[in-house]
Structures are given as C-alpha cells and as structure tokens.
C-alpha cells in the first residue's frame, strides 16, 4: 500500500476530533443515566467523585499517549488533537472537584479550610488541578503565540501532573492500591518514552559516548 495514503489529512483529522469528542462525552452521559436510574450504588456522591476522577486520569493517559503515537506512526497532524484531549482532562477534573464541593462538602467552605487541608491527598490533588488550570487557560492559540518559548516550559508541567495525580489517588484509598499502582506504571511508561528527549538524557549520552571514545583511544 502506498504510504502516502496512510497519512492523516486535515479532513480526516476533523472526523477524528469529532470521534474524540464522542469518546470524551459519552462517559458523562452514561454517568447521568446511571445516577438517574439509581445504578450508582448506595452512595452516588462517592461514586460520582470516583468516576469523574478516574475519567480525568484516563484522559491524562490519552493525552500523554498522543505524541508517542504520532512519532511512532509518523502522523504529525495527530499532535493537533492534544489540546482537545488535554481540555477533557481539565473538564473531568473540574467535574470531580465540583462534585466534591457541591455534593460531598455541600459548599461548606469553613469545613473545607478546617478539615480538608488536613488531608494531604487533597492538597496533592489541588496542586495538580491548579497546574491543570494554568495549562487550560494558556491553551488558546493567541496566548500560545504571545508566550513564545515560555509556553512550552509551562506546558511541560503536564509531566508533573502525571505524577501528582496518581499520588493523589494512591493516598486517597484505604488499602485497595492495585489500581493506583497500575496508573503509576502507565505514567512511568509514558514518561519513560520521553526520557530520550530530556536534556539530562542527551548530556548523559554525550558523556557516555565521549567516555567510550576515550576508552577506545587508549593504547
């Protein structure tokens, strides 16, 4: 088959984005149906908080998967879907926090400051959400252009978020740690794929190759 035919076109990108919107929205519709049909367990509040949190985490995995996929299959245009998926991470995280404030804390701000700050897992999650908010607010093309090189620097925070959120998850559970650990592994893998792009790795490999040459050049 001709390789050219496999290239993503801007037309197919349009449809791909449409599909991604469907994948992003369907779980929300499903959740609404579950809650309306009384299928979200005896405590729908906890269910919704957990569901939207896991949704944000899954979207985060999807975001981080895009550039390795684009590289592997040489589909540069695919990178243009990162903003869309990234904003779904923000949307799910926002729903997660909104559900926590409205359904669990019932907007008791006093309670929030009194007792919630005692919960380190919430502080870690909140830090992740603040970073995520910064990324969402700077996701517009105009802001991107204005920020120039600083934009990329800021948006590298997604890697920090990728570590903070599984910590938040791991810390929040009583002892059912399999799932948080799976996310740690997935994030580790996704970050590991990027290791070669880091300055640290490049310097390390330069050093190694220099050392290799020295050893070889010894009589």
């Amino acid at each position: 088959m001709n390789k050219k035919q496999l290239r993503l076109t801007s037309r197919s990108l349009f449809w791909l984005k449409g599909l991604m919107h469907c994948i992003g929205l369907l779980p929300i519709i499903y959740l609404v149906l579950l809650v309306l049909n009384d299928k979200a367990g005896g405590d729908p509040v906890q269910y919704i908080i957990h569901y939207t949190g896991t949704g944000a985490l899954n979207a985060l995995v999807a975001t981080l998967l895009i550039s390795p996929l684009a590289k592997k299959f040489k589909q540069g245009l695919l990178l243009q879907t990162r903003r869309l998926v990234g904003l779904y991470v923000f949307a799910y995280a926002s729903l997660h926090i909104l559900a926590f404030f409205s359904l669990d804390l019932l907007f008791a701000w006093g309670l929030f400051f009194e007792e919630v700050v005692k919960r380190p897992y919430i502080l870690v999650g909140a830090a992740g959400y603040l970073l995520l908010t910064a990324l969402a607010l700077t996701s517009f093309k105009a802001v991107m252009r204005k920020m120039g090189k600083r934009w990329q620097k800021l948006h590298n925070a997604i890697y920090l978020i990728a570590l903070l959120i599984p910590v938040h998850f791991y810390w929040s559970v009583k002892s059912e740690i399999i799932e948080p650990i799976l996310y740690f592994l997935i994030m580790g893998l996704l970050l590991g794929l990027r290791l070669k792009q880091t300055r640290w790795w490049k310097q390390l490999s330069i050093k190694n190759s220099l050392r290799g040459r020295q050893i070889n050049s010894q009589p």
Binding site: L34, K39, G42, D43, H50, E115, E179
Partner: protein, 340 residues
C-alpha cells in the same frame, strides 16, 4: 493465520460454542484472568450497568432472604441522630473486601454465598464450647430489632435497623471463664466463594481470614449486638450473612461479618486493619471526632439517607458515635488519643 469466512463465522453464536455456565459467568472469568483495564477494576457495577441500560441481560438471582420474627427493642432509640437509611442503600453500599474492594462489589459478587449449612464455633476460655448450625443461629435466642447509628472509618454513616441478640447473651450460654479478658472473632475463609481472598492484593492487602477482637467488658455490654438480620429479614451476604457483629460506637470495620468463630481468650486478639496499617487503625477504633485518621478528618460524616443525589447531608461526628453515656465508662483511665 487462519482466515475465517463470514458464512462460517455466522453459523455460531457465542452461546453455542461456550458452555452455558461459562457464558453466564464470563465477566467474572475475564476478571479472574486479569483481562481488565484499570478502569474496569474500579467498578464491575458500572459494566453491569451498561447491560442493564442497553440490553436485557438478566441479573444474577439475588440471595433469598427470609422474614424473621422479632420484638422491637427501643431502649437505645433516643441516641439515634437522623432517619433510617433506606434498605436498598444499606444492602448496596458495603465494605466487604472478601467480595471485592469497591462499594458495589459485595452486592454484585456475594449473592451466591452459601450460608446454610453454616457452623459458628464458640470456644476458648469458656465452660461449654458451642458449635451452632444455621438454625441454632437464628433460633437459639429470642430475636429483637435494634436501630443503631453506623459510622464507617471512611467518614460516611447510616442508621440501620438490625435484628439479632446481644453478644453477652450468647457468651453466657457458653459460660465465660474468670481468666478471660478478650473475645476474638473470625470471618469465614473460603476463597472459592470469596474472590477477594484468592489473592492478597485483590482483597485490599488484608491477610485473610479477617479477624477482629473486643475486650471482654466491651463484649459483655448489652449494646454489643450479634446481628442475623436487617429490616426484619435475614442478612443478605453483602451485609455479613448469616451472622455478624455490630458495635455501634466503633468504626464499622470492627463489626466483623459472616463469623465462623468466636474465641474467648486471655490475650488481646489481633485485628485485621490494625495488622495491615497499625498507624491508621487501632485496636479500639472508637468513633472519635477529635482523633483524625492520619490521612483524613473524622470530625464530620456524610449521612447516607433517603432521597436522591442532592439530599446528601454532612453532619458532625459524635464521640462514641452518640453512645458515650453508655460506653465511655469502659475506657476510664485510658488515653483514647493514644489508644485510638
């Protein structure tokens, strides 16, 4: 690679080539084989929901519960704070890691538990060790209904009408020896029936069987209850059928379920959550709004009550879950911050 043409493929339906019991049990089998994503591990209930909503797959038959004749005991009703939690919520929101770690796993996975025949052994420092079968459990002592506050260590709570008898009455039948100081309890260990016991990590890291314990004074207090039913009927398995402990002034994990052994002893018994995380769960585990869990506050609780999503309430947690007048005397001279 074999190429299957469409005609040949169409000849067979899934159910033709799969033994029926495997077909109906496929989700559990897939789970056991480990073919689940991180998301699916989270809630088998959600997956079941897809089928409920969008096709007509039957749910597994629910465990059959029988009505229990009982008298109403209202002596402790004035200590209740809040309306009763509706039955459907009491039996669908459970922590019973033997059947999975999510709140909806027990109702999904426990319906097939065999409770008859059952054997409950009462032994150790007693005059006459007893072995009770299923009928003995339900008929040996007159049953009464008691409505108790129930507070989980995870900061949610319910108000539940239990049916059963006080533990003290049962222990008196066996006759507690004078050197006894504590009572130990043990849940059924049966990995065939309890999938969470198959692998230590699928069961939340607990080293099964689940064990719990009380001091003898705690065990002999009338408030300490052996429940065989709720809402006038026998317990469903997810709530600890056929017999469980209910200690309303302690966090829910002390109220051990599906008990097979009560061992009267002269040593402080081990307890499962304390063994797993001693810095987070103490032996006493009395409800105490002043002593936080290391990772979250215990000052308030979300009350699971009647009504939909927006009727949830957050209420302050009371010392000893509201039963302080009756039980605080058991801890005179004990530092409850240290002995949490």
């Amino acid at each position: 690679m074999t190429i299957i043409n469409k005609a040949a493929w169409d000849k067979f339906k899934d159910c033709d080539v799969t033994p029926e019991e495997v077909y109906h049990d496929r989700r559990r089998i897939l789970k056991q084989m480990g073919f689940v994503g991180a998301g699916a591990l989270l809630s088998s209930r959600a997956n079941a929901g897809v089928f409920d909503l969008f096709s007509s797959e039957e749910e597994k038959a629910a465990f059959a519960r029988v009505a229990l004749p009982h008298a109403k005991q209202t002596e402790y009703d004035h200590l209740l704070y809040g309306e009763q939690t509706p039955e459907n919520k009491v039996i669908s929101h459970n922590n019973f890691y033997e059947f999975g770690t999510s709140k909806t796993d027990p109702v999904d996975n426990a319906q097939g538990l065999t409770v008859n025949p059952w054997q409950l052994v009462i032994d150790g420092e007693v005059d006459t060790p007893l072995t009770l079968d299923y009928d003995d459990i339900l008929k040996m002592l007159p049953l009464e209904e008691r409505i108790y506050n129930f507070r989980c260590v995870e900061a949610w709570s319910m108000v539940i009408p239990w049916v059963g008898f006080s533990l003290a009455k049962l222990l008196k039948k066996a006759g507690v020896k004078s050197n006894a100081t504590h009572v130990a309890f043990e849940t059924l260990y049966d990995p065939e029936q309890m999938p969470g016991q198959k692998n230590r990590y699928s069961g939340g890291g607990i080293n099964y069987p689940y064990v719990e314990g009380l001091t003898l004074a705690e065990a002999m207090t009338d408030l300490t209850f052996m429940s065989v039913g709720l809402y006038g009927k026998t317990l469903p398995p997810q709530n600890g059928a056929p017999i469980r402990l209910v200690v309303p002034w302690k966090y829910g994990f002390k109220s051990i379920k599906s008990i097979v052994r009560i061992h009267v002893t002269d040593k402080q018994p081990r307890s499962s959550w304390n063994l797993l995380a001693p810095s987070e769960y103490g032996f006493y585990a009395n409800v105490n709004p002043q002593v936080d869990h290391p990772r979250w506050s215990q000052a308030s609780e979300r009350r699971i009550a009647a009504g939909g999503l927006f009727s949830a309430k957050r209420i302050p947690t009371l010392p000893f879950n509201g039963y302080g007048d009756l039980v605080s005397g058991l801890y005179d001279g004990l530092n409850l911050r240290k002995n949490f």
